[in-house]
C-alpha cells in the first residue's frame, strides 16, 4: 500500500498532497452555516446528556398554582398548562430527540448498508427482493405508515411487557413507560426510513464497480476484499455520511411529527412535538408555549440540514454547487 502510494506520488509529482478528508475538513470550516450545524449538534449532545442536571425542576413536576406563566426568574421559559417548567421539558425533549435520532440512524444505516450491499453484491433474486421492498416502502405515505405501525406495536409491546411481568416478575415502573414509547418509535421509524440508505449504497456500489480504477485493480489481481476495503468503502463513505447526517435530522423531525399527532411519545414524557400539540390550544393566549418548543425544534432540524449540506459540498467535490 505505502509502496503504491509513493510510486503514484513520483509519477504525477503532485506539488502538495491532501487527502479527501483534509480537503473536506477545510471546505467545511469555511462554510459558516455548516459550522452553525456542528455547534447545534454539539449543543444537542451536551444537553441530552447533562440536561437533567442543568435545571432544578423535574420534567414531570407540576405546580398547579403557577400555570401558563410567561418567562420569569424562577421559570426562564415559563410554565405550561400543568405548571411544569418549560425549560426543563425542552431540555428533556432534547434527550428524546437525540436518542431517537441516534438509534433510528444506527438502525437505518445498518439495515440500509446490509440490504443495499447484499443486493449489489449478490444480485439476482436478492437484489430484486431488496429493491421491491424499497419500492413498496416508498409507496406508503411515510408518516401515516409510521403512525400505523406505532399504534399497532405499542399495544403489542405493552402486552409483551405484561407477559414478562407475569412470567418472570420483571416490572417496568409507571414512570418508565416512556421507554416503551421510545422502543415503538425506534422500530416504526427504522422500518419506514431504511430504504433511502439501501438504495444509496446499492447505487454507489453498482456504479463504482464499473469504474476503470476498479477494473485496473482487478487486472492487477487484487482480491475482492482489497477492492471492497480500499476502494468501495472509502469512495461510498462520503455520500453515506451526508445521508446519515440528513437522516439524523429527519429522524428527530419524524419523532416530533409522530408525537405531534399523538402517536409518538405520550405524556408525561417530554418531546418537542408532543409539547407543541399539547399547547396548541393556547396559541392565542400564551403563544410562548407553542413557539418555544417549535423554535428549538426548528433550530435543531435546520442545524442538521445545514451540516448535511455543508458535508455534501465538502465530501462530494464533483458536485460542488457553488
Amino acid at each position: 500500500m505505502t509502496a503504491d502510494a509513493s510510486a503514484q506520488h513520483d509519477m504525477f509529482s503532485m506539488p502538495e498532497q491532501r487527502s479527501l478528508w483534509q480537503d473536506a475538513l477545510e471546505q467545511l470550516m469555511r462554510n459558516r452555516l455548516a459550522i452553525f450545524g456542528v455547534f447545534v449538534a454539539f449543543l444537542l449532545v451536551f444537553v441530552s446528556i447533562f440536561g437533567p442536571w442543568l435545571s432544578p425542576y423535574d420534567y414531570t413536576q407540576q405546580n398547579l398554582f403557577r400555570i401558563n406563566e410567561g418567562p420569569s426568574a424562577d421559570h426562564w421559559l415559563g410554565t405550561d398548562g400543568l405548571g411544569r417548567d418549560m425549560l426543563t421539558r425542552i431540555l428533556h425533549g432534547a434527550r428524546t430527540a437525540f436518542l431517537v435520532g441516534l438509534i433510528v440512524t444506527i438502525g437505518t444505516t445498518v439495515l440500509g448498508v446490509v440490504l443495499g450491499a447484499a443486493g449489489a453484491f449478490l444480485g439476482g433474486w436478492v437484489d430484486a427482493l431488496v429493491m421491491r421492498l424499497a419500492d413498496i416502502t416508498m409507496a406508503f405515505p411515510d408518516i401515516l405508515l409510521a403512525a400505523f405501525i406505532s399504534v399497532v406495536f405499542r399495544e403489542k409491546v405493552l402486552e409483551f411487557q405484561l407477559h414478562l411481568q407475569e412470567q418472570y416478575g420483571w416490572t417496568i415502573s409507571e414512570g418508565n413507560r416512556v421507554y416503551l414509547d421510545y422502543l415503538v418509535i425506534f422500530g416504526s421509524l427504522t422500518l419506514v426510513q431504511w430504504y433511502g440508505k439501501a438504495r444509496l449504497v446499492r447505487g454507489q456500489i453498482l456504479s463504482l464497480r464499473e469504474k476503470e480504477f476498479i477494473e485496473a485493480e482487478r487486472a492487477l489481481g487484487a482480491s475482492n476484499w482489497t477492492i471492497i476495503l480500499s476502494h468501495l468503502v472509502p469512495n461510498s463513505l462520503g455520500p453515506l455520511i451526508v445521508s446519515i447526517t440528513v437522516g439524523f435530522g429527519g429522524a428527530m423531525l419524524s419523532e416530533a411529527s409522530l408525537s405531534f399527532l399523538g402517536v409518538g411519545i405520550q405524556p408525561p414524557g417530554a418531546s418537542w412535538g408532543e409539547m407543541i400539540s399539547d399547547n396548541l390550544g393556547q396559541w392565542r393566549f400564551n403563544p410562548h408555549l407553542v413557539v418555544m418548543p417549535g423554535v428549538v425544534l426548528a433550530i435543531v432540524v435546520l442545524g442538521f440540514n445545514f451540516l448535511g449540506d455543508g458535508l455534501n459540498d465538502a465530501l462530494n467535490p464533483e458536485q460542488r454547487r457553488r
Binding site: D135, L144, F148, V291
Partner: protein, 321 residues
C-alpha cells in the same frame, strides 16, 4: 409494477389493521361489548368471524370492485356517535358511511388546498429560483437559497402556529382562522402558504440549477445579440429550457402536497384527507384509515410512474426498455 405493489400495500395495511390494538367490535359497541350475544352479533355483521385469508380476499374484492367498504360508523353504536361528533363523513359534515365517499369527499378539500399551495409555489418559488440564478453567487443568491432551506426545513406545525401568532395576534390581518369555508375564502390563504413552504426548496433549487446551466449557452448569447431585453431573454429562452425538470418535479410535489397536508389540516382544523386519516386512526375506524392509506399509496405510485414516463417524453435521451 403498479398492481403488485398496490396489492402488497393492501396486504400490509390489512395485516396491521387485523392485528391492530383496537377491536372493531368494541369500537362499535363501546361499553356494551361485554354482552356476549351482542358481541357475536356485531362480529358476524362485520364479517370478523371468518379466517384471515377469506377476510383479506373479501377486502381485496371490495377495493378492486370500486366499492371501498363501509366505515365502522355504519354499524351504529359508539363508533357512529363518535363519527358524528367529530364531523366525519363525506365532504364537510356529510353523514355518509361509505369509505369511498368519505375519502373522495375529503380529498376534494385537500386538493383545493394543495391547488393554492401549488399556485404559490409556481409563482414565488420559480421567481425566486430565477432571481437566484441570474444573481448567481451574490448575497441575493445566498439569501434566497438559505431562506428556502429554512422555510423547507421547518415543519408545518411550527411555521403554522408562528404565522397564526404573527398574522392574527400581532398584525391582525385575519380574524377567523381554522376550519374550511370553501376554496375562495380568506381562511384558505394561511394554510396554503404553510403547505407551500415544504416543497419550496426543491423548486427553487431546480429552477436555479436549470437557469444556471443555460446561462452561458449559445442560444442565450444569440438572443442577447439580437437585442432582446434581458427580461425576455430570461422569460422566453432560458426559462423554457430550464422548466423541463421543474415541471416533472411539480408532479412529485403535487403528490407530496396531497399526502403531506395532514399537519396543516391538523393545525388549521381543515377537514381534509389527512385529518380524516388521523381521526380514524385514533378512533380505530380501520376500514376508513386503510382506505386513506391505500388511496394515498395509489397517488404516490401513479405519480412516480407518470413522472418517469413524462421525463422520458420530454428528454429524448432517456429511454426505457
Amino acid at each position: 409494477m403498479l398492481a403488485p405493489t398496490v396489492i402488497i400495500v393492501m396486504l400490509i395495511t390489512f395485516t396491521l389493521g387485523y392485528y391492530g390494538p383496537i377491536d372493531p367490535v368494541r369500537a362499535v359497541l363501546g361499553e356494551e361489548w361485554e354482552d356476549e350475544l351482542r358481541y357475536a352479533e356485531v362480529k358476524k355483521a362485520l364479517g370478523l368471524d371468518r379466517p384471515f385469508v377469506i377476510q383479506f380476499l373479501d377486502y381485496m374484492g371490495t377495493m378492486f370492485g370500486g366499492n371501498w367498504g363501509q366505515s365502522l360508523s355504519a354499524f351504529g353504536g359508539v363508533a357512529s356517535d363518535r363519527a358524528v361528533s367529530e364531523g366525519r363523513g363525506a365532504g364537510f359534515t356529510g353523514t355518509s358511511t361509505s369509505v369511498r365517499e368519505m375519502v373522495l369527499g375529503r380529498l376534494a378539500i385537500s386538493a383545493q388546498l394543495s391547488f393554492w399551495a401549488l399556485v404559490f409555489l409556481t409563482v414565488f418559488a420559480i421567481l425566486l429560483g430565477v432571481l437566484a440564478a441570474v444573481k448567481q453567487n451574490t448575497t441575493i443568491d445566498y439569501a434566497i437559497v438559505t431562506s428556502s432551506i429554512i422555510a423547507s426545513s421547518i415543519p408545518a406545525y411550527v411555521i403554522g402556529p408562528v404565522l397564526l401568532i404573527i398574522f392574527v395576534l400581532k398584525i391582525p390581518v385575519f380574524k377567523t382562522v381554522g376550519g374550511w369555508d370553501g376554496m375562495f375564502s380568506r381562511q384558505a390563504i394561511l394554510p396554503a402558504i404553510v403547505l407551500a413552504t415544504g416543497p419550496m426548496l426543491v423548486i427553487v433549487r431546480q429552477t436555479r440549477a436549470g437557469i444556471v446551466e443555460v446561462l452561458g449557452k449559445d442560444f442565450v448569447r444569440t438572443a442577447r445579440a439580437k437585442g432582446l431585453p434581458e427580461r425576455l431573454v430570461v422569460a422566453r429562452h432560458m426559462l423554457r429550457t430550464a422548466m423541463i425538470p421543474v415541471l416533472t418535479s411539480l408532479g412529485l410535489v403535487t403528490s407530496g402536497l396531497l399526502t403531506g397536508s395532514l399537519f396543516v389540516e391538523q393545525i388549521f382544523n381543515i377537514p381534509g384527507i389527512g385529518k380524516l386519516a388521523i381521526q380514524t386512526l385514533m378512533s380505530g375506524d380501520h376500514p376508513v384509515f386503510m382506505g386513506v392509506v391505500l388511496f394515498q399509496a395509489l397517488i404516490i405510485v401513479t405519480v412516480n410512474l407518470l413522472t418517469d414516463l413524462l421525463y422520458g417524453g420530454l428528454d429524448p435521451r432517456v429511454t426505457y426498455d
